[in-house]
């Protein structure tokens, strides 16, 4: 056992990367749920975003266009969810699960000719002096730009929900859609926008995996990240900064367990492998003293009847 082999600075830098796809998807879903909609199709939207982004990045040679394509791809898939739940008033849980099934299949069909290709690389932030600083440099100033986008998005969503009129309306719709409707807000329209935003974010998260973190296209490569992102929203009690914390915690435990393995720590590997999940449960139990509730209309169908 050699714990000194673990470099805490690099560890923090790695966990930030590991957490980013989770964070992007979770922030999107958080907005969706704040609007009172439960979309369980995150995994499906992520994987469609992963292949859309990958394909466009490969075809155009630009990872940036790839990420835009991923956001669009995720949003387009979420349109299906919109049609089902907002137009046809179908059950949201089942619709979301169906969306995941559909997305996994669709992405595999789309990706058939992209197996074994290397995508164009994405540049990293490299600020002279700052990026070379000890400790702070690797942690704060030498990541890819999408990672910063994730953090910026968290801040933006936090600000939007807390201080903007748009956020107020969104929360009103999520808390009590009938009252919001009575006040003259377009409940359905707001929800549709929220769902599309969620789809775009999930798409970005997926593309982060296929373009930066792995980078490669293989079928089913998101391997369950979308589910963890869903769990993260609950974990965060629908608060953006807590989602960031949760993503870092989850990514962190995963990276730490691999670090401990590599350092030869004498804890059985299977227990280390399950530790991210167990620790998430433990933290959740501790946090459940906080009684901030889910949006009251979460998952309920809205129909303006007269």
């Amino acid at each position: 056992m050699d714990l000194s082999a673990i470099n805490p600075v690099l560890l923090v830098a790695s966990l930030m990367v590991a957490a980013t796809p989770l964070l992007l998807a979770a922030i999107g879903e958080l907005v969706v749920e704040r609007a009172g909609v439960l979309n369980l199709g995150v995994e499906g939207m992520m994987i469609v975003g992963a292949i859309s982004g990958f394909a466009i990045a490969v075809e155009t040679g630009s990872p940036w266009l790839g990420f835009i394509g991923a956001a669009v791809g995720g949003a387009i898939l979420s349109l299906l969810f919109v049609v089902l739940t907002q137009v046809a008033l179908a059950n949201q849980v089942a619709s979301g699960l169906a969306l995941t099934l559909f997305g996994l299949g669709l992405s595999a069909l789309m990706g058939q000719s992209y197996v074994g290709i290397k995508p164009p690389a994405m540049g990293k932030l490299d600020i002279p002096v700052l990026s070379d600083l000890p400790v702070v440099g690797p942690i704060l100033f030498s990541h890819d730009l999408i990672l910063y986008l994730g953090i910026a998005l968290t801040a933006a969503v936090w600000w939007m929900l807390k201080y903007s009129r748009m956020g107020l309306i969104l929360r009103a719709v999520g808390e009590n859609h009938d009252a919001a409707h009575a006040l003259g807000y377009k409940v359905i329209r707001i929800r549709i926008l929220a769902i599309l935003f969620g789809g775009a974010c999930a798409g970005l998260g997926g593309a982060y995996i296929s373009l930066i973190r792995v980078p490669q296209w293989t079928e089913g490569m998101t391997a369950g990240v979308g589910w963890i992102a869903l769990a993260l929203v609950v974990f965060a009690s629908w608060k953006p900064w807590r989602a960031l914390l949760g993503a870092y915690l989850f990514g962190g435990v995963t990276v730490i367990q691999l670090n401990l393995q590599a350092a030869g720590v004498a804890i059985p590997v299977e227990y280390l492998a399950m530790s991210p999940y167990v620790i998430t449960i433990l933290v959740l139990v501790i946090l459940s003293a906080d009684k901030s509730r889910a949006p009251a209309s979460l998952g309920r169908i809205f129909h303006a009847s007269h």
Partner: protein
């Protein structure tokens, strides 16, 4: 009437009905555990299938079903293939072992080939590849190339196949570099590219400058490239898109020659139940081009080892070798028997850490 005989009768009736057609076309089925787009294990088996089609042209018809879970689903897919007149069925995952035996019992006329298992029957052959031979070549290059003397190894699950690879790589790395250490990380999953990326990064951060992987994605390659000064080896497929650096060589699964030979045997009526465990010699294990990033003398040494293994002059597990606990395993000049290798569940002397469970 018993169900088994019902099935057999149906198969026979079909044989009679479509006899005229079946005469000229041999139907070969493939059952895959992953999608053909996985870029690794299943992808390579599918390349083998395509090679069969290419080689025999109109004389064969191949069918496949992908992403078939192990267990009753696999049994159903095999039965379906047999019912629809397959003459030969390749079942390409260890977990298909018992289902293959079950279905083979019901269709005595159909030939089955099960990959990586150990249960044979009258109409069931088993086949597998001696990937550890390739690992010996990798170990040699790794031992010569490492400057930090730390080699990182990403394993999926601690099963004999993976442990054998670790041992073989380690023995040969130590042979050329007595100071080399292995750091082993188990991903505890068959497939999760993001986790493989994390594992590779962790190993690199802890000082490894060579990464060996027993997982199929290119994630570790990309991590090594990003880190710089780290070398890797392609796994399952060549991963040439990462050559010449970080990927300096690779182990390639090459099932095509075997699939063609077995299909030919069915056509000729010479098929018998066999147990095949082929390595570099017969071409089942391919060593990908060693890139120019490897110094010429190291490359020559690696190729010499490869040739010695291919010709049978050298066995990667040749004594004197001790087990991790210091007990004797192989005496001077003694080579490991296939039984021990097949079920290998111990590390050789010098590897640190324990095998999980």
């Amino acid at each position: 009437m018993k169900f088994t005989s019902l099935l057999a009768t149906a198969a026979m009736a079909l044989g009679l009905a479509t006899g005229a057609m079946a005469e000229d076309k041999t139907k070969v089925g493939f059952v895959y555990v992953g999608p053909v787009g996985d870029g690794g294990w299943t992808y390579e088996h599918n390349q083998g299938r395509l090679a069969v089609e290419e080689h025999f042209g109109d004389k064969v018809e191949t069918v496949f079903v992908e992403s078939v879970p192990e267990g009753p689903d696999a049994e159903r897919v095999m039965t379906q293939m047999a019912l629809e007149g397959a003459d030969l069925i390749f079942t390409t995952s260890f977990g298909y072992m018992d289902p293959t035996i079950n279905v083979a019992k019901k269709f005595p006329k159909v030939k089955f080939e099960h990959a990586t298992g150990y249960k044979q029957a009258e109409n069931v052959s088993v086949y597998s590849a001696r990937f550890y031979e390739g690992r010996a070549v990798q170990g040699t290059i790794a031992g010569r190339m490492t400057k930090s003397n730390i080699v990182g190894y990403i394993g999926s699950y601690p099963i004999p196949e993976v442990i054998r690879g670790i041992n073989s790589a380690f023995i040969h790395a130590r042979k050329v570099n007595p100071d080399v250490q292995f750091k082993i990380v188990w991903a505890y999953t068959w497939f999760d590219p993001a986790k493989e990326a994390d594992a590779a990064k962790v190993l690199i951060e802890q000082g490894a400058d060579v990464i060996l992987q027993h997982t199929d994605s290119t994630a570790p390659q990309a991590a090594a490239q990003a880190a710089g000064n780290v070398i890797t080896f392609g796994q399952a497929s060549d991963m040439a898109e990462y050559a010449p650096l970080p990927r300096v060589s690779s182990i390639i699964d090459n099932w095509a020659p075997y699939y063609i030979a077995r299909t030919q045997a069915v056509m000729d009526g010479t098929w018998t139940s066999t147990s095949t465990w082929d390595g570099i010699g017969p071409g089942m294990v391919g060593i990908g081009e060693i890139s120019d990033a490897v110094p010429a003398e190291v490359k020559a040494e690696a190729l010499a080892l490869k040739d010695a293994i291919a010709s049978g002059a050298y066995h990667p597990f040749t004594g004197p070798l001790k087990k991790q606990d210091g007990s004797d395993w192989l005496a001077e000049g003694e080579t490991a028997d296939d039984g021990t290798l097949a079920g290998m569940n111990f590390y050789v002397e010098g590897i640190e850490g324990d095998i999980p469970n």
